[in-house]
């Protein structure tokens, strides 16, 4: 059983170029024992050889994203977890269930540490496509919904400087928060490809999301989420309590 720090260091080694983007939030909030998890890395027929001009963004539900990241790591890519939702106290209280991801990160660490990935290997950014599913701010629930912002990923100029010419999104669709990032890349001349379930690469044109390039965007979105004091998102939503005067009061619990 690895401790949190050594687990984090496996996924974010100091010498790797893309380590600075790895989110420590989920690693820091991992419980001591998440349970047993069987890793079933899928086939990666669509990506047999590492392409040094490409960045891959895996936006799949739950542990599938980690599994896919591990497969791509075997091809020579550097997996960069961007999960920004905190692991809550109990599996059933969390709005976004990150149990599977937490288990897969722990179980996958052994496989990842056995691989010899180059320090300048192109990255595969890992996202949970369920990050905004579920109703937010439900009283008594642990609201760990989260969003990915342009500030959470490298800028287009940084990618171009490192020879990146194309972005491959492994997902069924482009989510709105990701569109804010991809359109910035597209505007700088980086080609965007979508690889959905049929595993065929299709070049796409990202359409403009609402509040694109607006400095209110991040402020507005984070207002609807619950911050965690240790970084990332996750907090218990207070439950209303009935007082002696029959009025409802909110109480943390």
């Amino acid at each position: 059983m690895k401790d949190k720090m050594s687990l984090y260091k496996i996924w974010a080694p100091d010498n790797a170029l893309w380590t600075q983007w790895t989110k420590p939030v989920l690693f820091a909030s991992l419980p001591c024992n998440t349970g047993d998890c069987e890793l079933k890395p899928p086939s990666a027929d669509h990506m047999q050889m590492v392409d040094y001009n490409a960045v891959i963004i895996v936006d799949l539900p739950g542990k599938e994203s980690v599994d896919e990241g591990l497969v791509l790591a075997q091809c020579g890519y550097r997996p960069v977890p961007l999960y920004n939702g905190v692991y809550g106290n109990s599996k059933f209280s969390m709005i976004v269930d990150v149990q599977g991801i937490a288990e897969a990160l722990q179980e996958g660490a052994d496989m990842l540490s056995s691989l010899n990935i180059r320090a300048d290997a192109p990255p595969v950014f890992l996202l949970d496509s369920n990050r905004m599913t579920g109703q937010g701010k439900q009283p008594g629930k642990y609201d760990n919904r989260w969003c990915v912002f342009p500030q959470d990923m490298p800028s287009a100029s940084f990618l171009l400087k490192n020879g990146i010419q194309k972005i491959i999104v492994r997902s069924t669709r482009i989510q709105e928060d990701l569109a804010h990032i991809l359109l910035r890349y597209q505007n700088q001349g980086i080609n965007i490809f979508l690889c959905s379930n049929d595993e065929i690469l299709k070049e796409i044109k990202v359409s403009k999301p609402s509040l694109f390039m607006s400095f209110f965007y991040r402020f507005k979105v984070t207002l609807g989420l619950s911050r965690n004091a240790t970084g990332g998102f996750g907090a218990v939503i207070p439950e209303p309590q009935i007082g002696w005067s029959n009025r409802s009061y909110y109480w943390y619990g």
Partner: protein, 288 residues
């Protein structure tokens, strides 16, 4: 009438205490919480010391340069101190909302050095504007809020104008351009110095305060210079992919701050400014 004024002052004091408490909790809770995997220790120390430095500047102003009835009054100094903390809370929130420069998200959580420098410059600029508003004699807290509010609005509007011309916020928060962070952070501090001078002075009336605020016109020159400098750096970045401009940016930061101090030192008092006389004539003609 006096009782009503005291009551309002008491309410302002209470509201300021609540806002200050909320601000200090929001500021220090993430800084003091356990982050075993976080690498940005320097950001935590800098952000932790920042409000303390600001409190010292405000306290010095209140003890040495504030209104005659404030400098020796423990109660009034306490009230203006907590009002100052509430002011910083408002300013930091406005920076997050309007400038998209978040001390929590960018400087602390994302370990963005460019944003850290800009946030530090902005926080100190806000502190100086509030301190400047406390300089001089005045009948009450509303004088401080009004003059400081003028400075804050000018500071925010100029920041937005700079961003609309040069995409500064995007370059700091997304591109993590440290040079841009240094230049914009030093501009926020330098403009804070000039606007603090514009906010300072004895209170006469709302209109005269507006006229006296014109003393800070040189901030427009400073903003104009920054826009030209940023456009030059954008052009340079497009033509040359290696944008290593840290030393040049530090030099420019020193120039901006030295320029602001020189302007404040050399600027004639408001009564010696010809615009002041014109504005006064307009004021009297309106009243007659």
């Amino acid at each position: 009438m006096d009782i009503l004024l005291y009551l309002v002052e008491f309410l302002v004091f209470i509201v300021s205490i609540i806002c200050s408490f909320k601000f200090l909790v929001k500021w220090y809770e993430p800084l003091l919480s356990k982050r075993p995997l976080n690498r940005n220790k320097s950001a935590r120390y800098i952000l932790g010391l920042l409000p303390i430095g600001s409190f010292c500047v405000i306290l010095f102003t209140l003890k040495m340069l504030a209104s005659f009835d404030v400098v020796d009054s423990f109660i009034y100094i306490s009230m203006y101190m907590v009002l100052g903390i509430a002011w910083l809370f408002l300013g930091a929130t406005l920076m997050s909302c309007v400038f998209d420069l978040s001390w929590l998200d960018d400087a602390l959580n994302l370990n963005n050095k460019a944003a850290l420098i800009a946030v530090v410059g902005g926080f100190l600029g806000l502190t100086l504007i509030y301190s400047g508003a406390n300089i001089g004699n005045g009948p009450g807290w509303w004088c401080v809020v009004f003059t400081g509010g003028l400075g804050l609005v000018a500071w925010i509007v100029l920041g937005l104008v700079i961003n609309s011309c040069t995409k500064t916020f995007e370059r700091i928060t997304v591109e993590r351009d440290i040079g841009c962070g240094i230049r914009f952070g030093s501009y926020l501090l330098a403009s804070g110095i000039i606007l603090a001078r514009a906010c300072a002075g004895d209170w006469t009336s709302f209109y005269i305060t507006l006229v006296e605020f014109i003393d800070g016109w040189s901030v427009l020159v400073l903003a104009g210079i920054l826009i030209l400098v940023e456009l030059y750096y954008i052009h340079k970045a497009k033509s040359n992919k290696t944008n290593n401009a840290i030393f040049g940016s530090i030099f420019l930061a020193v120039v901006f701050i030295a320029m602001a101090i020189t302007i404040v030192y050399l600027l004639p008092p408001t009564s010696g400014n010809p615009i002041y006389r014109v504005a006064l004539e307009v004021f009297w003609s309106l009243h007659i």
